[in-house]
Point group: C2
Chain length 256, copies 2
DNA sequence: CGAGCAATTGAGACAAGTCAAAGCTGGTGG
DNA sequence: CCACCAGCTTTGACTTGTCTCAATTGCTCG
């Protein structure tokens, strides 16, 4: 079990400076041309009503390593990631970290009744996102029930994923956790299907460890073992080749 | 880490017979007189519209140990627990079990976009609940946006709780897990506030273990140690006295 | 080319798991 | 009313998967 002081030796950037607001345009432009819209809740809104949504969206970006949501702070906004990947996490007072998920393009963040954020979000690499002031989005939701319905769907799916992750954290072995993680990434990476699938892992080993409830060393050793067993290939630090999908599924124990 | 074949030695009842339908009344009666309504999503509907909801609710009960939701089965209904407590869990193929939560009076179950249930629900003791056929509830939701909004709130809260549980499962020690569990139960048990709070634990040690990602033995040993340290008292198997709330909070590391 | 950081590898420690044996407790029947 | 059974819980002795600590290797970028 996690014993030591830190569950992470993640770089702590000195200044969590406020992220930069990139632009705030009029018209439907930012939403109409958004690459992430098809995968996001925003697709619940028709093209012709898009101006309404765009009017309350503030397009922003966060530099690598920068936090744009801080656990415990007053929750004034919702977010929608449009490009890049963010790590979502909670900390214990002594610095142990649990990553609860990774948010990619289309991911909606900030759902909570509470008036403070329940987790932090930090950019891995460069992250672009839309920010919606809560009261403004509330108004839009009143006008577009389809959007609210869509949010309920998103929340339900996240809940299912969270339960799957609880199973992983509470009952799976290190090998099963790593296998499950790779599989889950693999189903989220449909493009470029060939004989062997290539995964790119934008996050560090430390991120993976804190997501799977393990240490960096155990993640590294487990990946090495999977490589030795010819189940995966590791051409470089941030890429994984899945040589034997079936073996991986058998190791994962079950879904996800 | 969990190693052996079983994460549980829970009694497996031989026949998961269908639970008994108790009654299906006309008028607003079952909902209007429902003890669980104040704590449940149903309170989003006005007294005068209650007939509408009551018309689609089927009041049922499940005997102790009986399952009324089975992971993987076609999800045809939503549920609302009105009395008793149910354990919600997921299983691995070899029988290891992770309890993802306990559902008490007012708890809404079955939120999922997927067409199969993501978890099982089993009665601990006698459980009463309302069952709503999905399409019927869908119609009610269309008529009462407040109910749908309420559901989004419920889902958001569950998501926050799930993230807290991931932190517990991924990064906390056995002592911290047990302390967190007792504290969480204590905040959900506001009545009868005295110098020492009395918790009743309707679930078995095996349930607690499978909820906290531990074994029965570790749960038992940890409770004993807390008793030795005068932090809690254990008058009998299903009751806990909290002698030192502050010590418990310090041990829990943080919230929940 | 070398500083700096992330990842890997090795050796040893320990928290929690496994296996096994009592101890309780509640229900049943003689 | 008590003996006995069955199941849950507690306790003890030992094992082990994962963590900790400590190098070493490998990348990236100036």
């Amino acid at each position: 079990m996690p014993k030591g002081i830190l569950g992470t030796n993640e770089s702590m950037l000195p200044l969590p400076r406020r992220p930069i607001v990139v632009r705030r345009l009029h018209g439907a432009e930012p939403c109409a041309s958004c690459d992430a819209r098809p995968n996001s809740v925003c697709s619940a809104i028709d093209d012709r009503d898009l101006e309404r949504l765009a009017a309350v969206a503030v397009v922003s970006k966060a530099e690598p390593g920068r936090a744009f949501i801080n656990e415990g702070e007053r929750a004034t906004s919702f977010f929608n990631v449009t490009a890049g990947t963010a790590r979502l996490f909670k900390l214990l007072p002594d610095g142990r970290r649990q990553i609860t998920g990774f948010a990619g393009a289309g991911h909606f963040l900030g759902l909570a009744v509470s008036d403070t954020y329940a987790f932090s979000a930090e950019a891995i690499g460069l992250v672009f996102y839309c920010r919606f002031a809560r009261p403004r989005l509330r108004e839009v939701l009143d006008d577009f029930p389809a959007l609210e319905r869509r949010l309920l769907g998103v929340a339900s799916n996240e809940l299912v994923a969270a339960q799957e992750q609880m199973l992983l954290l509470g009952r799976k072995t290190a090998k099963e956790r790593v296998a499950s993680f790779l599989l889950a990434r693999s189903v989220e990476t449909p493009p470029c299907t060939g004989p062997v699938q290539r995964l790119s892992l934008p996050m560090t080993r430390s991120d993976i460890a804190d997501y799977l409830g393990l240490t960096i060393e155990t993640v590294s050793r487990t990946l090495t073992r999977l490589k030795m067993d010819r189940v995966i290939g590791i051409p470089n630090i941030s890429d994984i080749l899945i040589h034997d999908q079936h073996a991986l599924e058998a190791l994962a124990g079950c879904g996800g």
